[in-house]
Symmetry: C2
Subunit: 231 residues, 2 copies
């Protein structure tokens, strides 16, 4: 009856053929997860459609069934990596400790995903998670006497500082940092850059945090001056 010898393929090669395809379905979430994995391990530069697709064992064009473009992929993975914004209402101690807490949480997230700064610069779509974090910080400034624009400027100032200090990208932005070569160049031209040479020399091997603590304290002090003047 069976015109094409049914069962043959199972007997002769079926076992390890294209398989029973237990393959999970491709979804936006799985794509985003794979892209995040790539970015965490090899940097945002390594996130290409091909690379991400390979990680999922599909062709790159398969991804386009789920995301419209690479920009959208980056947007989606960014939203996913940023995660739910924190609720700071229970943090005791007023606006200042709320902002400190917010910064700590932000830094933790960005530390897990060092590519976030690079992914969140330039014109792009903004997702609810990202807006939520901003909401969180702006809310922390309620009751300070600052007006709307000031509250937003303050948050921008603070998050900009986080961005600057967290970007491994920004690491090279200033000519000190631990870079041995540059230090030696600086020493070589010390008569041309005396103040810098002196300042660099006066930095007794403190484990530099890219100026994070210093900048945070100055920004919060500066905000405090303004807020106090409003009371």
């Amino acid at each position: 009856m069976a015109s094409e010898s049914p069962g043959t393929d199972l007997l002769w090669g079926g076992r390890d053929k294209p398989a029973r395809r237990p393959r999970l379905a491709l979804t936006v979430d799985r794509i985003a997860a794979a892209a995040i994995e790539v970015a965490d391990a090899e940097g945002l530069g390594a996130v290409s459609m091909q690379h991400v697709a390979a990680k999922l064992d599909v062709t790159k064009m398969a991804l386009y069934r789920h995301v419209a473009s690479k920009a959208e992929l980056v947007a989606v993975m960014t939203e996913s990596a940023i995660g739910e914004p924190p609720d700071l209402r229970d943090v005791p101690g007023g606006w200042r400790s709320r902002l400190v807490r917010w910064s700590e949480l932000m830094r933790e997230t960005w530390q897990r995903h060092p590519w976030i700064p690079a992914a969140t610069t330039g014109e792009r779509a903004t997702g609810p998670h990202e807006v939520g974090w901003t909401e969180s910080a702006v809310a922390a400034l309620e009751g300070t006497g600052l007006d709307g624009g000031e509250r937003m400027d303050a948050v921008f100032l603070l998050s900009g500082h986080i961005r600057n200090t967290m970007s491994s990208a920004t690491a090279g932005t200033q000519p000190w940092t631990a870079d041995k070569h540059l230090r030696s160049v600086l020493h070589e031209h010390r008569q041309r850059f005396p103040a810098l040479h002196a300042a660099a020399g006066a930095t007794n091997g403190s484990p530099r945090d890219n100026g994070w603590e210093f900048g945070l304290d100055r920004i919060l002090d500066g905000l405090e001056v303004l807020i106090d003047s409003r009371a």
Copy 2:
């Protein structure tokens, strides 16, 4: 006598042939200038070897006789665009007005070349002009009682703020800005982002400068608090 009819090519096609090649020699400076022209007009993304080479009427590979890589080209054009650092010693009024002046000059330069922020992020070579600007700012903080690390952190904080507010790249970094679409989305989800919605509403059409003035004042106030405490 003339075995190959001399003058023929001049008569028949010589006039507009390869020409007498009054072509200027290719130099690093001319290459950098052309690249800057492209970047100013079409953004750093438009700076490709081919594009720059076309502007100079040569093949892209010709450029590699003068620069080792695209990264080097970008480094060279950046140094050239940044220009000579300012001498702030004659600015009256102490560290604060010197830093304000420095910031103004920096902003002017960056305004002329909006791609500089993008070109100066990430691991890269740093040139003497760039180091010179830093030297300038660090020198402005002499006599403030801040130690070397603090002076450098302060300059990093300030230049980071300039970077954040100047980057057209960073323009999209925060979810307010004049972006109509986002404002409407924000309004649509106002119950989810009440603080942000309120703050955005309270921003009476002031011509927002990306928080430049606000941040500058807070940073300088914060520095002043620290410096006063050292006196």
